[in-house]
């Protein structure tokens, strides 16, 4: 995983609330056995019309989308299916952070494990950010993970929460598997004290 420290970037705004992972990456693209290449299908059914042409009014088809690494999205982003293909597609498209007022649990977990940072802002700060971006399309936001601060185009800085362990993993570019493999002794001790409840054998 690529470490995440600070990021300064313009933003794409996708205002809809409750964006589900079926929109982020429709199920017909889940027949792949790879992680890569999913960016081409990100928001496939919202980006492209019935004749296969890009919808010019869809934010990800805008000029700013080609340079933006931050997606600003409505409340409860990533609800629905547990498909990790959703963060893979967002990363492959070029996003490194998503700003919202709230994320679905499984999506947030999956994003953090891939170096895609979910940034939760209070509703007032979020509304202010969307206003500022409406006035200045290419305005930039800075996200400082070590300080847990998002600095909006107007210079206002807003603290955001991140689980300390996820933050440690992101800052250092390490995943949880190394940590869990290092718990071998504790896991073996648990197993000897707790016989298996079922066996699939």
């Amino acid at each position: 995983m690529e470490p995440f420290t600070t990021l300064t970037s313009s933003c794409v705004v996708l205002a809809a609330e409750n964006v589900d992972t079926d929109q982020i990456i429709p199920a017909r693209f889940l027949k792949t056995i790879e992680r890569r290449g999913l960016g081409a299908h990100l928001f496939a059914d919202w980006r492209v019309d019935e004749r296969g042409q890009p919808r010019i009014d869809f934010p990800l088809n805008s000029l700013v989308a080609s340079e933006a690494s931050i997606l600003v999205a409505g409340h409860n982003f990533g609800c629905g299916s547990s498909r990790e293909h959703a963060p893979w597609a967002l990363l492959d498209f070029g996003f490194r952070a998503i700003i919202s007022t709230g994320f679905a649990d499984i999506f947030r977990n999956n994003a953090l494990k891939n170096g895609l940072l979910p940034v939760t802002l209070a509703p007032t700060a979020y509304v202010s950010l969307v206003d500022q971006l409406a006035k200045s399309l290419h305005a930039r936001v800075t996200i400082d993970l070590a300080a847990q601060l998002a600095t909006l185009p107007d210079g206002s800085a807003h603290a955001f929460p991140v689980d300390p362990f996820a933050r440690h993993c992101l800052l250092n570019g390490v995943d949880e598997l190394g940590f869990l493999l290092g718990e071998e002794i504790a896991i073996a001790a648990y197993e000897s004290a707790h016989p298996a409840r079922v066996s699939t054998r």
Partner: protein, 472 residues
């Protein structure tokens, strides 16, 4: 005296390998890991890359369900014509072979939807932690298990270590009292709950369903309820085990037997929330005032009583809510204030991990018996497992469906996920017993109305959205 604790706390405490601290989540042990073809290939690839093994293949079971066709078998064999799906299924076979994992593949008589076969085989038991790379893993909570969906990275962690890093969830009690009126089922209860608490209303929480209406339900109906916990954003949903639970598990292939059975039943009796245990939130619902429910919009919380009218976005509380409703009605081609009863549909789908078990098929068949699927309507009935299919055929349900003009299919996720050949065409509408009405969920441009098997069957024979209570 110890502090009263909830069922979730008890299961949690029993699985802590290392307690959580401010800086580190708990290391939580997983009793059963279910695997399917869609969310596992990249996890196995990661294991290979690291030279890791599967720590407990004996606690792991794989099946094929999402990308499998449900078209009839040829001389007992299921033909997978989509080369990408075939490659994905073949990859699962290779992975299970290489890492020593038992697989209920397409040629196995026990193959089926992962959340149907776990309980069916007796693998799902009270007090367990169960995970799967699928958000509907909450289904297994019906047995008093802590069961939740995970992503592919976590599938890899569980394969390699049989553990996960987890923060303790908050707890929400959903109490449903009263007797269900005629024509109203578990599916209507859960749709009403989601409509009440909202599509993200249970984020960060595990739901515990309690109350007399829940106690009165059979296990398959309880599974329908727990299945859709995720549609309110919950991490999991569960129901304390009771005699109904034990009776369902008894005698199943992987259930404990003999003296082990007696010990297990004794242990399960402890699995209740203590009197006075505290929840972060409690929501109440009356069962006796419920009507059959149906969704009108593009997330499962957009549901109304079947004889209700489509809400007016202008009446929404916030601008965002109004925009959400507006967008949904446009997609669904509905007007504010319009009734749903009498709206023509193209397809009726009975199936999915929500409603594909034998009791669901019996309910649908009871409505279909002696009736015909209306002209111009296509009805698919897709059993949740090959065992459910055989059972239904032994009871003659297949003949009722086929005599009515419905398609009787092979087991799988089918039209719930539209990645296996079963899907809506753009602009088509369906009443479906599945769990998600998201845009395009059942096929690009398709429109989904979620409802119970009873409502689905009544709609199929009427040719338009129908109230089962008004069929003679």
């Amino acid at each position: 005296m110890t502090k009263p604790s909830t069922l979730v706390d008890k299961i949690w405490n029993d699985h802590v390998v290392r307690a959580e601290t401010e800086s580190t989540p708990a290391v939580l042990y997983v009793d059963l890991h279910l695997v399917h073809e869609v969310t596992s290939p990249q996890a196995f690839a990661e294991l290979r890359r690291r030279g890791a093994r599967v720590r407990r293949p004996d606690l792991t079971l794989a099946t094929m369900d999402h990308s499998t066709p449900t078209t009839p078998r040829t001389r007992g064999r299921l033909m997978v014509l989509d080369p990408q799906a075939a490659a994905q299924l073949e990859q699962l076979e290779t992975n299970c072979d290489e890492f020593g994992i038992r697989l209920f593949g397409l040629d196995d008589s026990r193959q089926g939807i992962v959340h149907v076969i776990g309980p069916e085989q007796g693998l799902t038991q009270p007090g367990m932690t169960i995970v799967c790379g699928d958000s509907h893993t909450s289904t297994h909570g019906a047995f008093g298990a802590l069961a939740f969906g995970i992503g592919t990275s976590e599938v890899g962690y569980v394969l390699a270590t049989q553990t996960l890093l987890q923060r303790k969830p908050r707890k929400m009690q959903v109490r449903i009292d009263g007797a269900l009126p005629r024509g109203v089922t578990a599916k209507d209860i859960i749709l009403a709950i989601i409509a009440k608490i909202g599509v993200g209303g249970a984020t960060g929480h595990v739901l515990e369903y309690t109350g007399s209406a829940i106690r009165a339900l059979g296990m398959e109906n309880r599974m329908t309820i727990c299945n859709m916990s995720i549609e309110a954003g919950a991490r999991a949903g569960l129901i304390a085990p009771d005699d109904t639970t034990a009776e369902y598990i008894a005698g199943r292939p992987f259930a404990p037997a003999g003296t082990l059975w007696d010990a297990a039943v004794e242990r399960w009796k402890q699995l209740v929330s203590d009197d006075g245990a505290s929840y972060d939130r409690t929501v109440d619902l009356r069962a006796d005032t419920l009507a059959p429910m149906i969704t009108f919009g593009t997330n499962p919380s957009m549901a109304i009583p079947i004889d209700g009218r489509v809400p007016d976005p202008d009446a929404a509380q916030t601008g965002a809510e109004r925009a959400d409703l507006d967008k949904a009605l446009r997609y669904m081609a509905l007007e504010p204030g319009q009734p749903l009863l009498g709206r023509a549909v193209d397809v009726v789908f009975v199936g999915s991990c929500t409603n594909s078990r034998i009791s669901d098929l019996r309910e649908a068949a009871a409505v279909m018996r002696g009736r015909q699927v209306a002209p111009g309507v296509r009805m698919l009935v897709v059993p949740g497992s090959r065992n459910v299919k055989s059972q239904a055929e032994a009871e003659g349900l297949d003949r009722i469906f086929m005599a009515a003009g419905a398609e009787w299919r092979e087991a799988g996720c089918s039209m719930c996920i539209a990645m296996n050949g079963d899907q809506l065409a753009p602009g088509e509408s369906a009443v479906s017993t599945s769990n998600r009405n998201f845009e395009g969920r059942q096929g690009k441009g398709g429109r989904t109305f979620l409802a119970s098997p009873l409502t689905a069957a009544a709609t199929a024979v009427t040719g338009a959205i129908a109230d089962v209570r008004s069929l003679s």
